[in-house]
Symmetry: C2
Subunit: 353 residues, 2 copies
């Protein structure tokens, strides 16, 4: 009955104060390293803290301070390697600065994105790293603006007039992919994309097309865009192939598009790179162990996270000036899924399943 009390309540700063025979104010000062405390009392406080196993309640502490040492992070989903390691990096960087990272997923919904943002505002987070579902003009960014929140936009963004932005330089990367493909002799290339993220996707696409035509004006670039979902893309691609279209290479502007392309190739019994070449935007661990290994544009996750946190903390610390749009260079890994058209034995079209 007596021992049961052990688990009852965590010691508060007052318990420490009592135990050390000083006031709560003094305890607080000691723990924050304020110099105007007698060494003897400092020792008594530390002893009491040790003996009671006291730890500051960060939420109560933050309640009194104006800002809370919490950073919010919002990503469209947790399932992909890209956002997964993004969150990991952001978490690491926030902790390094003594902040806690609270992550949430918008599950590809702009409505939810705004809800989460409102919740984070309720939490009085110091700042937010937002990877918007669509682009920098969504309702979430508007909410942040309206409520004077400090934040940084990443990934599916180009530039914004209110917030710093950090994203992969997918435009240069796409041009490089174009060069790689054209130089290998490809003159009929299909590009797959998701229209949702309007500006970003369009920029990638235009950059790709421009470079391709610049290097070989007779290049034919077909495009299949799906508005928001992947399934329409799959059926559009199926129709496209069924019509007899036969590009020699496919460039997918997003990861799931790469999966769709691969599965459609399978359906038709085509193999990379002999029957068709494939490059995907966004890398994944499995891409280098399959046969063939899939060529991919690797996004600089770590760099994006570092730059984003850097910019965010600058703003938190009150730095002014116009918003900065940062682009981090990608790496293009040309793996075995890319070859020259007609270099290998075509397997024709048949041999389903």
């Amino acid at each position: 009955m007596v021992h049961r009390e052990a688990h009852a309540r965590r010691p508060s700063i007052h318990d420490v104060a009592n135990s050390a025979g000083v006031s709560a104010a003094t305890v607080s000062k000691v723990l924050q390293g304020v110099a105007t405390v007698k060494p003897e009392n400092v020792q008594r406080v530390f002893d009491a803290v040790e003996q009671l196993g006291y730890r500051v309640d960060p939420l109560a502490s933050d309640l009194r301070r104006a800002k809370r040492r919490i950073i919010g992070a919002i990503v469209p989903e947790f399932e992909s390697e890209f956002f997964g390691s993004m969150i990991t990096q952001l978490e690491r960087l926030a902790e390094q600065r003594g902040y806690a990272l609270v992550a949430a997923s918008s599950r590809e919904s702009e409505a939810r994105e705004k809800e989460i943002l409102a919740r984070m505002h309720d939490w009085r987070v110091s700042g937010v790293v937002l990877a918007p579902v669509r682009n920098e003009h969504g309702p979430a960014a508007g909410f942040m603006k309206k409520n004077g929140m400090t934040g940084v936009l990443i990934d599916r963004v180009l530039a914004d007039d209110a917030f710093d932005t950090v994203s992969a330089d997918s435009v240069s990367a796409s041009a490089e992919v174009a060069r790689e493909l054209v130089e290998r002799g490809h003159r009929h290339i299909l590009v797959l994309g998701l229209g949702e993220q309007a500006a970003t996707v369009r920029a990638r696409l235009e950059s790709f097309r421009e470079r391709a035509l610049q290097l070989a004006p007779d290049t034919r670039v077909d495009v299949i865009l799906s508005e928001s979902d992947v399934e329409p893309l799959r059926s559009a691609l199926r129709d496209y192939f069924a019509k007899g279209e036969r590009p020699t290479a496919v460039y997918s502007l997003f990861l799931r598009g790469t999966l769709v392309a691969l599965s459609e190739f399978r359906r038709r019994g085509w193999h990379c790179p002999n029957d068709i070449s494939l490059v995907g935007f966004d890398d994944a661990e499995w891409m280098q162990v399959t046969w063939p290994a899939i060529a991919a544009v690797v996004q600089p996750v770590r760099q994006i996270a570092i730059q984003a946190m850097d910019a965010l903390f600058r703003r938190i610390e009150g730095e002014g000036g116009p918003p900065i749009a940062r682009l981090e260079p990608c790496k293009v890994l040309m793996r075995e899924s890319v070859g020259s058209p007609g270099s290998g034995p075509h397997s024709g079209g048949g041999k389903r399943q």
Copy 2:
């Protein structure tokens, strides 16, 4: 100068009280739906809330209430599909009950796991869903026990004497994989595993071996275990093949092992299923679009999340009784990477790169 105030400070409950001409206590009661308030005042409060755009500060609110409406979730990593969708599900379920989910990754470190747990304890979370790095006997679970935290252990656990556990029934699944392989005629099977998670892995392994030998006593089951890292496993596997060992099937007990197996097959120019069959524990989206599609044991992520949250909230609401160890059934998807030994044209051993 006047309008600048707009962004200055969020309205507090006192601002609402002033604006509505009532006391803060009344505002609080109205917002919590207490009946003993005059309808007229209810209306005034709602009007003021609306007009000021007031929202309660959940952290301040939780400070006064005993428990905070926060659930902590700790997973070994964010990068994998498995834990990614686990977090997504847990987030969804916590929000459904009006709780916020705060997720953190232990990055496969038991030390960090304990640190995070301590931090969550500092936050006074109502409960924790812990996916331990190693198993249920780690320091983190000990910490939870010692501090009287309420929590549920998931994934790499069997059963615990203090906490409810929920995990995939990998034992039955492994037995089923054994059956599938033996029935197809495999008599020499290599199993790959990570020793770190001792009990879980051992259980899978034993169950597999037992069923295999029961169905065909002449079956040879080789085992390669690596303690904690993947690279040693890779080199062990390389040595194993270099020695001339030639199993007809490989069963990997964890996802990255499946990747290692695939990449070693590539090195040697072996193709599934003609040269060797492959089954992996843990499914991933890409496995069904590669050629061949990779056979896998699919863990019931959603079910695990649901059961874990269910158990957790039961404990939070004070339900007593001994801890329950729950097992959720897996699905075994035999895809194209599995065939019968010697059924296809062997490509021998050469043809590297």
